[in-house]
């Protein structure tokens, strides 16, 4: 497989403009004739579907929830970046670009990141015009905050519900287009396969989650905006429905899967309370602007009430290790630091898996009122879940799986290695390299959907000839039968264990061996255990009910089955990458406790190519060149 990133030539700042001019346009009169399938109605999917329909294309949009508004983007709290430099604090497109490349530990594609920084500005304008009620100053202009370890204030936010407001903006645009007849919406439909004809993506197979009907849909181009695979760890901050199914099926149809081992573990989540735990709740990173992270210096003190631990017996380890960034150190670094102190036995709370996030100083500074104004809804959520009052008792937090930088490989036009199959948002391997900075995923999802894909997909359609295909084409029929057989097989096993119990076990394996810190031995063990577990799954899972009606266990089982295969790919990638970078920390490769990159051997994108169930996937490499930002060790000390 040959990976052509299609990066335009010329100086970085001019690439996108140049490319936009060079791309072919579709005659407005013909746009209606093109049918585009968009899978996903999150920030990426909804913004793309709406924008494409506005341009005149004939769009079908799919989502597994009951309404496009429920896509997981809704849960994003902290904010969205935009290089507006409204604060006059030295921000610029160049700086956002630089921060993102560096934050990604030099494992992202420069050209894409630069374009992202460029359009970030338009995103804010678009969202405001849609009526997104961003926070404002008394003067009536937009407010900003510094977020996720950035030294400039470029983050726009709407209370602790930024993702919700941005998604509602995109959702409303989508509903507007549905009303106008440009988009046909398929809610409660799960995509279970991509259909390719002569190697070109021409449609998908879906299951109607209410009637159970398996259907084929043909189109001229397919777009996946199906989100991340963080749920492979079972416990994560992702919504219950988040899955790898869509992208993994595309992978099995020939789309390369890039950097699966780049997973982000978020440092500030509410710790696990017990076996019953079904998800972990994120406490927005913005809390770290005012909260101080600490654990007791001595193990003996861990049992005691936080209030009883004297100031001099507290270890504010982030401030100690990273004086210049302190509590705002990037996510991967903060998460690992938390793991270290807990491994040393200095963790607090149930099972010793937690660290304190303490607001007492901030409250002393700005008062309870001040803190309530900034984080009220988050602290209330914490209290609701833990029954502890964060205003008087320090919060307990612990890292949890949160985001997947890895995803389907795409070129500069956001097209995967399957012609016609475009991938946007968290689902692609994205612009975040080995680690994503806070408030930049919302930015990327909307950049892809509003401002990049609408151009590049037009170029694809204008550059190729499409003869109509109908869904009774052999490829469609075989794909459809494949899906039906798989469903029947899952229903037929009638074993003893629930799909959830397998998912939970898979999560434990991955969290243990392929979580915040990884090493060869552990990964090899995981690669032993996962196939065994998968084996048992297909022998012993039980899926009650039938396939011809709403059957949530069937949906769940299908997703777990894919996670069980994907988890192996994840470990394989982690094992092959013999360096530490961003979210991928290999214990063998460190320097004084800090990640040690190996730019000689690993300065590339690892794009895995499916080679059949019997044989191991093939590794393809896209070398990364850095013209504008010079490779440097990422230091936040």
């Amino acid at each position: 497989m040959k990976l052509d990133s299609r990066i335009p030539s010329g100086p970085m700042a001019g690439k996108w403009d140049k490319h936009r001019f060079e791309m072919k346009l579709v005659n407005p009169a013909n746009k209606r004739k093109y049918h585009i399938i968009v899978v996903g109605s999150g920030l990426a999917g909804a913004s793309a579907a709406a924008s494409l329909s506005e341009l005149g294309y004939n769009v079908s949009c799919f989502a597994f929830q009951d309404s496009p508004r429920r896509a997981h983007s809704i849960a994003a709290q902290g904010g969205i970046n935009g290089a507006k430099n409204y604060r006059n604090d030295g921000d610029s497109i160049q700086r956002l670009f630089y921060d993102t490349v560096k934050g990604g530990d030099f494992r992202a594609r420069e050209a894409n990141v630069y374009r992202l920084a460029q359009v970030s500005v338009d995103i804010i304008d678009q969202c405001v015009a849609q009526g997104v009620p961003f926070a404002r100053e008394y003067g009536g202009l937009l407010a900003n905050r510094s977020f996720g370890g950035a030294q400039v204030s470029r983050t726009f936010y709407a209370r602790g519900q930024t993702g919700q407001q941005l998604l509602l903006g995109a959702y409303q645009a989508l509903e507007k287009e549905i009303a106008a007849g440009g988009v046909k919406m398929y809610s409660r439909h799960e995509m279970l396969d991509v259909v390719t004809i002569d190697g070109v993506a021409r449609g998908i197979i879906t299951r109607d989650l209410v009637t159970g009907k398996v259907e084929a849909h043909a189109a001229d181009a397919v777009v996946l905006g199906t989100g991340g695979y963080g749920n492979v760890f079972y416990l994560s901050t992702n919504a219950q429905g988040c899955n790898v199914t869509a992208t993994y099926r595309a992978y099995k149809k020939g789309a390369a899967f890039a950097n699966p081992c780049y997973t982000q573990i978020h440092p500030t989540c509410i710790p696990v309370a017990g076996e019953h735990q079904s998800k972990l709740t994120l406490m927005s990173e913005s809390l770290r602007n005012d909260g101080r992270v600490w654990v007791p210096k001595r193990r003996e003190d861990c049992g005691r009430k936080p209030g009883e631990v004297a100031e001099e017996d507290r270890d504010y380890y982030l401030e100690r290790k990273y004086p210049s960034y302190g509590n705002l150190a990037p996510r991967d670094i903060s998460s690992r630091a938390a793991k270290e102190v807990c491994d040393e036995g200095r963790g607090v709370g149930p099972g010793g898996r937690g660290v304190y996030l303490d607001f007492s100083d901030a409250i002393g500074r700005v008062g309870v009122q001040g803190i309530a104004e900034r984080y009220g809804n988050l602290l209330d959520m914490y209290q609701r879940i833990t029954d502890e009052d964060p205003y008087t008792v320090p919060m307990r937090i612990y890292p949890a799986s949160h985001y997947s930088m890895g995803g389907l490989w795409v070129d500069y036009n956001l097209m995967s290695t399957i012609p016609g199959l475009h991938v946007i948002g968290e689902a692609n391997f994205s612009d975040h390299g080995a680690n994503r900075l806070g408030a930049s995923a919302l930015m990327q999802g909307l950049a892809d959907g509003y401002f990049v894909l609408p151009y590049t997909i037009g170029h694809y359609l204008a550059s190729n000839k499409f003869d109509k295909v109908s869904t009774d084409h052999a490829e469609f029929r075989s794909a459809l039968e494949g899906v039906e057989q798989r469903t029947a097989r899952l229903l037929g096993i009638r074993g003893k264990r629930t799909a959830d119990s397998f998912h939970r076990e898979l999560g434990k394996i991955l969290w243990e061996h392929c979580g915040m810190a990884r090493n060869e031995a552990g990964l090899k063990q995981a690669l032993q255990e996962i196939p065994k577990l998968r084996e048992e799954f297909w022998q012993n899972v039980t899926v009650p009910g039938s396939g011809d009606s709403l059957n949530q266990q069937l949906e769940k089982a299908g997703r777990v089955a894919d996670f069980l295969e994907f988890g192996e790919l994840l470990c394989l990638d982690a094992l092959h990458r013999e360096e530490s970078c961003g979210g991928h920390f290999r214990e063998e490769y460190q320097e004084a406790g800090e990640a040690k990159r190996n730019d000689e051997d690993f300065c590339y994108v690892a794009a895995w190519e499916y080679a059949g169930d019997r044989s191991a996937p093939v590794l393809n490499k896209e070398p990364l060149e850095f013209e504008s930002v010079h490779l440097a060790t990422r230091s936040y000390k």
């Binding site: 309404s67 304008d125 015009a129 709403l550 266990q553």
Partner: protein, 261 residues
């Protein structure tokens, strides 16, 4: 702190949209007080599945009170007994050992039951389609700061925009009225300058769609407000009525009213 409870669940079971439904009783033993209400249902389901029985179907996704997918009647209260709390955020410590919980789906003509506790809320999407948006094509807008918006207006608009579309307002309303949901969107957009051009048109169309979907009218019972997990005020219903009356009286719904009230 943490403890365990033994509860009796009376759950509405219904095989399909047209199938007849009935209540079934289940014993939920050793429920940890640290569990969320949905995690309690997970545990009950795990046991049902292993016993070869059909698990209870219920909608949920984010499990942190923001996606609006979850929601059931618990002992006659939408989303359960706690204020400003969705079913997924409700924790079992809110119940006592030995309690009996009656669990029902949202009930409204416009929200048909699909299975057990799962209902179809597409009517909400259609209400939004009728006018719950600002018509601005991608790429057309001016600079974000070209239009100052008073902080208090932005905040009030945000109060309404916080709606998660869960449908608890409809479920709790004795009239099964969607007034609070509809009014929240009309309020969110109508309080912003960007929302003015379509303000009155929006009010007329969204109200008309709300009626068309078969929701009831508003008698101002106020139940919706107390059930709403986002605490959206019935003041927005008043605002919706005001916009509707103005629009009907002036018939200027099709015209541009920049900067109006």
């Amino acid at each position: 702190m943490s403890g365990t409870l033994n509860l009796t669940l009376k759950v509405w079971r219904q095989a399909g949209p047209s199938a007849p439904g009935k209540f079934e009783e289940y014993a939920a033993r050793d429920v940890s007080t640290e569990m969320s209400f949905l995690e309690m249902l997970d545990v009950v389901n795990e046991r049902l599945i292993v016993a070869g029985k059909d698990p209870i179907a219920f909608d949920h996704d984010c499990r942190e009170g923001i996606c609006g997918m979850c929601g059931v009647m618990i002992n006659g209260a939408a989303h359960g007994p706690n204020q400003l709390t969705t079913a997924c955020q409700l924790h079992m410590r809110s119940f006592k050992d030995g309690d009996t919980l009656t669990i029902e789906p949202w009930r409204a003509k416009a929200f048909p039951v699909l299975r057990d506790l799962v209902v179809e809320r597409g009517a909400f999407d259609r209400i939004i389609q009728a006018g719950g948006f600002i018509s601005v094509a991608t790429g057309s807008p001016q600079d974000a700061n070209a239009l100052p918006i008073a902080k208090q207006d932005a905040e009030e608009s945000m109060d309404a925009a916080a709606c998660i579309g869960c449908g608890a307002c409809v479920a709790a309303c004795p009239n099964a009225s969607a007034s609070l949901f509809t009014a929240a969107k009309i309020g969110h957009l109508g309080l912003l300058p960007q929302g003015q051009p379509e303000r009155y048109r929006r009010a007329l169309k969204m109200v008309a769609q709300m009626d068309l979907e078969g929701f009831g009218g508003c008698t101002l019972f106020g139940e919706c407000m107390s059930a709403c997990p986002k605490g959206i005020s019935i003041d927005f219903i008043k605002r919706m009525n005001g916009d509707f009356i103005y629009a009907s009286a002036t018939k200027r719904d099709e015209q541009v009213l920049l900067g109006a009230g």
